[in-house]
């Protein structure tokens, strides 16, 4: 990204001058997250979560690589090898709790990051590519998290793997062979566990690569901001360092405080007790539920209980569950309002908060047993979910009368801008 007023990297130490000629890595850092990257001066704390998500990925890779040194991906010993980590490996319990709760923390942070994007329409031109890459990252995260949850080979690991790979069997004609090909057998067993471990190790690095593209694409138009008004002059911006390094540092402190409180005092609060029972193909748990971060999508999957226009209910559920995320890819073209920020869109704002509530309701239902009342509630909530993105957003964009925007970012912060005065 280059605004004309962006500061230039000027190495002074001879070593840095030498390095800059041969491999300008410090220059890259300077221009990416240093003083060479001008950022809107009005970003609120909702803009902290991108950096936090990056931190979570690093945390997961570091703890995960060390756990992999002690874990054994074999259906016969996987469960006991996790207990070996918990009991016999020095600080192994801390690593494993850090990794398991790290996944939850990653999803908390990323969900806030995504809903920040919804509210401020971060997906709108010229930032569509950033958004599309972000949805790809989220899909990769879901795949990684799902396969990681299988590795301890507890009851929920096994039955979760069975249910999720079973989704593919809903596809007409090729479904069952496809499921068997994915699992390497008729049910989850050693072949499945081994390939899940291999992919669970690989995908985070793929995520890291897509994140690099996500940030690269971000640096072309630069960050959006809470007013949604583009940068006009230097007074609209501050250099990333020290302003946002300081703000992100504080945000990171708050995040770590919450994360460590869970890690050291409630490490099992977000998990399911059944996963401390070794996998048993002959005993189906009373309620098979995925980890909390999949609950909204699980509720959508289970909401289709009747065949519709000759399409089997199971296939409808699978299609809808994947569509619930795929629909995000089309947001830049579904929401046509020229105004970005929800602050200046009175009608959109109301529907946004309904969507937040709706997603929480779906999550609650997805985590509850498959009783009729929860299924009926998720059917209504899922209906709203699809209508929100595919019908309401395009409609609101065309009928809404937005509120007047500030002239510039500077004006929105200081109440006045030298340019307008």
């Amino acid at each position: 990204m280059s605004f004309p007023w962006a500061k230039n990297y000027k190495p002074s130490h001879p070593l840095m001058v030498y390095l800059d000629e041969k491999l300008p890595l410090p220059r890259l850092i300077y221009n990416a997250i240093g003083a060479g990257y001008p950022v809107p001066r009005n970003l609120n704390y909702a803009w902290n979560f991108g950096v936090l998500a990056g931190f979570c990925l690093v945390l997961q890779i570091v703890t995960g690589v060390i756990l992999a040194m002690h874990y054994a991906a074999n259906a016969g010993v996987a469960f006991d090898s996790v207990e070996h980590i918990m009991r016999d490996v020095n600080w192994g319990w801390m690593l494993r709790y850090a990794h398991a709760n790290g996944a939850s923390a990653f999803f908390v942070v990323v969900y806030i990051h995504i809903f920040r994007g919804f509210f401020y329409s971060s997906y709108k031109a010229p930032r569509e590519m950033i958004w599309l890459l972000g949805v790809v990252i989220f899909l990769l995260m879901m795949a990684t998290a799902f396969m990681g949850y299988v590795l301890p080979w507890g009851q929920m690991s096994f039955w979760g793997a069975k249910v999720i790979t079973g989704l593919f069997s809903a596809i007409p004609l090729v479904g069952t062979p496809l499921q068997q090909w994915l699992l390497g057998g008729f049910a989850p067993d050693n072949a499945a566990l081994n390939r899940f471990f291999s992919l669970h190790f690989l995908l985070p690095f793929v995520i890291a690569a897509v994140i690099i593209m996500h940030i690269w694409a971000l640096h072309i138009p630069g960050s959006s901001n809470p007013t949604g008004v583009e940068i006009k002059t230097e007074s609209d911006t501050v250099p990333f360092h020290p302003y946002y390094t300081a703000k992100d540092g504080f945000g990171l402190g708050v995040f770590l405080l919450l994360y460590c409180t869970v890690l050291f005092f409630f490490p099992n609060a977000l998990g399911h007790p059944d996963n401390y029972i070794p996998a048993n193909p002959l005993s189906t748990p009373a309620h098979i539920v995925p980890e909390w971060y999949f609950w909204p999508f699980y509720a959508i999957l289970r909401a289709f209980t009747s065949d519709f226009l000759f399409i089997p209910a199971k296939l409808m559920g699978v299609l809808a569950m994947f569509s619930a995320i795929l629909v995000w890819f089309f947001l830049p073209w579904l929401d046509t309002s020229p105004v970005r920020s929800g602050h200046y869109r009175p009608l959109f704002r109301k529907f946004y908060w309904i969507l937040v509530l709706d997603t929480l309701v779906l999550g609650y239902c997805g985590g509850s047993p498959a009783e009729t009342k929860y299924v009926l509630i998720s059917q209504i909530a899922a209906t709203y979910y699809f209508l929100h993105f595919l019908v309401i957003l395009p409609l609101v964009s065309s009928i809404e009368k937005p509120q007047p925007l500030p002239y510039s970012i500077t004006e929105s912060v200081l109440g006045t801008d030298a340019l307008t005065a």
Binding site: E83, R87, W93, Y276
Partner: protein
């Protein structure tokens, strides 16, 4: 294109969902989900026991863990394995290395041996390095390994305590409402068990064990002690975890406060 097909797809999903909702709702009105004996009579674990290990400062009581170990050894171990625990781990309960050695040596089930030269199998006394030998149970039911039981059940120690003290006669009201749900022969009614009928006979009674520290071995006391012991077998790291957590949280509060002040200082001229 997106703005034509998008709404159509949205309406399609909405129609399918409302169709499912309608069919489900009509069915629910015609034939509401039947209530079952489990729905009506299953109880959540009692929460009225105070554990020393509760809360962010909680620690285990070694005397209680030793009593709980006695209950496991004399009663539970007849049917239930505890395979994640090695004898050497028992030093955490306050036993000296010599005592642990003696406990291992005197353990009823011997360690299995195999001579690869001759192919002969045999046994030898346990050593502190050995795990508690597995228990093979031929009777009705599948007694689970107890190493992780408090983590593997909702309610944890409360569940174990409630189950052990919860045996009772099947309520007359249950039999009246659900005559088909009479507890089958060979099973025992326990409202804290998931399906109300458990294969385990009531394992504890007053004076089922003799405590070496003079505590009176009531059923209630035994249940508490063994629930505490099984919490330790599931989470032997708990004390260290909490003790590590406090300095970490303390440091983070200080570091975050400094980060906040630094942020405020840097931004002072930009608001």
């Amino acid at each position: 294109m997106v703005r034509i097909f998008g709404p159509l797809i949205g309406l399609f999903f909405a129609a399918a969902l409302l169709w499912s909702f309608g069919v489900g709702a009509v069915q629910q009105i015609r034939e509401p989900d039947p209530s079952t004996a489990v729905k009506d009579f299953h109880l959540d674990p009692k929460e009225n026991v105070h554990w020393t290990f509760e809360g962010p400062f909680g620690t285990y009581s070694n005397r209680q863990l030793q009593r709980g170990f006695a209950v496991y050894k004399q009663v539970c171990n007849n049917c239930h394995s505890l395979k994640q625990i090695a004898f050497r781990n028992l030093t955490a309960l306050g036993y000296s290395p010599a005592e642990v050695k003696a406990i291992a040596k005197q353990w009823g089930t011997k360690a299995k041996t195999f001579d690869p030269k001759t192919g002969d199998t045999g046994d030898r006394p346990n050593t502190p390095a050995d795990h508690i030998p597995p228990v093979y149970y031929p009777g009705t039911g599948n007694p689970p390994d107890l190493s992780l039981i408090t983590k593997a059940r909702h309610g944890g120690a409360h569940y174990v305590y409630s189950l052990l003290t919860g045996y009772t006669d099947q309520p007359a009201a249950l039999l009246k409402k659900y005559p088909d749900s009479k507890t089958p022969d060979g099973l025992y009614y326990n409202p804290y068990f998931a399906n109300l009928n458990i294969a385990m006979p009531p394992p504890l009674t007053d004076d089922a064990v003799t405590y070496s520290d003079g505590t009176k071995a009531t059923l209630d006391q035994e249940a508490r002690d063994v629930a505490a012991f099984l919490t330790w077998t599931a989470e032997p790291e708990m004390e260290k975890r909490k003790q590590t957590g406090w300095p970490v949280v303390g440091f983070l509060i200080a570091a975050t406060a400094l980060a906040y002040l630094s942020k405020r200082n840097i931004w002072a001229d930009k608001h």
